[in-house]
Symmetry: C2
Subunit: 485 residues, 2 copies
């Protein structure tokens, strides 16, 4: 017999069906055994009655414990009016069991999966993530994440964007946050780096003529954890447009956010239908922050106040060595009217950076990019790159010389955005298998020690610890953009 | 003025529009200058005529060279009947230029981007990938890849599958191909591994109750290149189902392939609407291969002959040390009726493996998985895992004890499938930025040397080469499944 989902049972009253799933709860009421059976759609009530269930099945039903996986064949019947459970979509029916099969037994879980796991220690939740994800809230978070990403993809497709996958094994560059590095077997002593963002590739795609690109892109940064930052990996909704003004890019993203909220989060209240655009200076002056929280009621997590912060300074304040670190990243385009300022007083130059802010959090950093090799090289000089460091980016400088269109884009952080939309305090609540605060995967046990053969193939050896771990930081002689994206 | 796409010009006859894009070709015919302008949709003809174009623009037009990026404002006019170019969707109109802006100049490209780049050296194509992707064939390949992935996602969504992103930084395990390893900064001497496939995570998602999962999953294997294998990274259409029979999984995948071909590749000829299912033994006997090419005309790349190979042996032939390597991977479920055989003659046990074969290529390996910890442990024993090696998988054994549903799935290789569907000889033709045969990214120059500070933060040092590189292989004392997926 084919399986029927719990949710479809009410269309099969009077018929025998087969249901399968997990035992959410079992109640023995004298001779009657009640089971709440859980599948991916809902719970449904199953009753074992002596005489109705086969003798073997009734006996087996006594062995059932929570989280057992079972398969039941039985008759769908309407419940008495007074027994209807209006909290459940299946609450009008129940299944009178005839045959039972135990597909898999279960030990007692380390925490109750029929309750919210918020109060359970996070280490336990992460170790037994496959149990944590059975809880209603976490299962819902996964579903909404899927719906959100699906909506984003459809939005960009409908707007004629091309989705392109960019490399995971790429090049370490002296910019941004700390790279994860991957030793090469084929090229002894050389390393790949995992992408902190597909920034260079998406710009190369613009030079390739793609014009409109997006990707739900995996990004890896070796940074320490924060509530709004994964230590390790995260996804960004990476997009880039050619021949578009800063206004047009912002309008595209604004339209996406408005439609996303209306479709997937209809209960949310938008403070502004049209997102305010704040100049960085006035924003700093008025709100003492570049991430203002513009909600009317700052305590209300269901209010969504999006805004843009624009007209950023191109650089952070001048460093002691006379160089400049980019406020956004080194590919951000200076405002046309400020190009002359680069020669006079670089700290005063403003850029075409635009940050999308939601409820006081930066959920996406974007900008127009430099599409002129001369300007790009000038920025490298101001940052303080020497010839060696410029060589890291020689491919970008060269590419700009083969017909680069004006372009720009943005990359909202998927988890950060979702955490706010789902009113979750930590981004780990919207990730299936997040790293713990100290960057471990507690579910499978990573990182772990590896064999000498693997090290040898990678042409590396492990250094004996010479100091405290987890505190070192990148050589400060290397210029660093904040590269917030 | 807002930009108009080339393809929309014919709806604006008699109006002034602005178009932007790349110069595909320029022809000077005495006073008239003809430009073929290329944007993401098409080519369109632009004419500069003295007196019609502003003086400055006409002068500037003389400077235009192929691959310059320009912006033109001009009048859309119908072409004379005899000048209509029916090869182009825009061939009925042309733009009489008034104003010209050169947005970006271009050096002479190292190869012609208005021709197919098949004959160009691959190293040059990869170094200048942003130029190669401007060619018609490569631009089309990127678009079809996007459409294909989008179709797959929609198919699974429509069938109630949940898309879940699984970790990129995960655990090295003694199975399958060679891992890429990533040193941990926080945990000195420990390493992450990049996933060869999300196999364990998708099984954990089944245990978590997801029931139907899919992901276009990035996978990384440090293997040497072949025409049908990327050295490094690739994507697989990863899917997994609970409570489904092997037949139901095959039917789901078959339906996807049939609908995909009908929608995205309508010109292809399917040899079979219903894919033949061949037992492994009979297949070996009849075709001397486990990847038979069942096309009626083996020379026809536009014929598609899908088939299934099922009833595989669980193990490869017994090894000299009395142990067994899995034919598929160590999580593959032995056929129920062959469970007793595991104690008597393991080499004779068959499994619930099913390979999807297309035109003589394996495009996807799948199986039902073990959902019983006792069976899983028995397989580990037969493979020859010692206690230490079993510990690598202790999380899987433990998870199976908390209510694991019967489940199975498959993971067709995205690039391999696309290369066949697009009749491309190499999978690199369907990847935006593929690695070269020796696993380098020639576009950005990876892998590369990195700074001493980065090595030190990762607690590793580079070993002096002690022999030829690129030839070493994994210690043969480690059990290895072929893990074909």
């Amino acid at each position: 017999m084919q399986r029927t989902l719990s949710i479809e049972a009410s269309q099969k009253i009077g018929q025998d069906i087969q249901v399968s799933g997990w035992v959410q709860a079992r109640r023995d009421l004298g001779k009657l055994i009640f089971i709440d059976l859980r599948d991916r759609k809902s719970l449904i009530q199953v009753i074992f009655v002596p005489g109705e269930a086969s003798e073997a099945s009734y006996k087996l039903a006594k062995e059932i414990r929570p989280e057992f996986v079972i398969e039941v064949v039985g008759l769908v019947q309407e419940r008495n009016k007074k027994n209807i459970n209006s909290d459940l979509p299946t609450g009008g029916v129940e299944i009178l069991a005839k045959e039972l099969k135990i597909l898999s037994r279960a030990k007692t879980p380390p925490f109750e999966v029929d309750k919210d796991s918020k109060e359970v220690s996070e280490d336990i939740r992460l170790k037994y993530r496959y149990l944590d994800l059975r809880t209603e809230r976490m299962a819902k978070n996964l579903k909404i994440r899927h719906k959100t990403l699906s909506f984003m993809r459809k939005f960009f497709e409908d707007n004629d964007f091309l989705e392109v996958q960019t490399p995971i094994l790429t090049k370490s560059t002296p910019e941004g946050a700390r790279d994860f590095i991957v030793p090469s077997r084929r090229h002894a002593g050389k390393f790949y780096a995992l992408p902190q963002s597909p920034q260079q590739y998406k710009q190369l795609l613009m030079i390739a003529g793609v014009e409109r690109y997006f990707q739900i892109a995996p990004c890896m940064r070796d940074e320490d954890a924060r509530a709004d930052r994964s230590p390790g990996e995260f996804y960004q909704l990476d997009m880039e447009m050619s021949f578009a003004s800063q206004d047009e890019i912002m309008e595209m993203v604004e339209k996406l956010m408005v439609e996303l909220v209306a479709n997937i989060f209809p209960d949310k209240k938008m403070t502004f239908e049209k997102f305010p655009r704040l100049g960085w200076s006035e924003c700093q002056k008025k709100y003492k922050t570049d991430k203002p929280d513009l909600r009317q009621n700052k305590e209300n997590p269901h209010e969504l106040a999006f805004c843009w912060v624009i007209d950023w300074p191109l650089f952070e304040p001048e460093m002691e060595d006379g160089h400049f670190a980019p406020a956004h990243h080194m590919f951000t385009r200076p405002r046309d009217e400020d190009l002359p300022v680069l020669d006079q007083d670089p700290a005063k130059a403003r850029s075409y950076q635009m940050d999308l802010v939601l409820n006081g959090c930066e959920v996406g950093g974007g900008s127009l990019r430099i599409h002129d090799a001369r300007v790009q090289e000038k920025i490298f000089d101001l940052i303080g790159f020497d010839a060696e460091q410029k060589k890291y980016f020689s491919h970008m400088l060269e590419a700009l010389d083969y017909g680069a269109p004006p372009h720009g884009g943005i990359a909202p952080g998927v988890e950060r955005l979702l955490a706010i939309l789902l009113a979750e305090e930590s981004i780990r609540e919207v990730v299936a298998f997040p790293k713990s605060g100290d960057a471990r995967d507690l579910t499978v046990g990573a990182p772990s020690e590896i064999g000498a053969g693997q090290l040898s193939e990678a042409h590396i050896s492990v250094k004996k610890a010479s100091g405290p771990t987890g505190r070192s930081h990148r050589s400060s002689s290397r210029p660093e953009g904040k590269n917030k994206k």
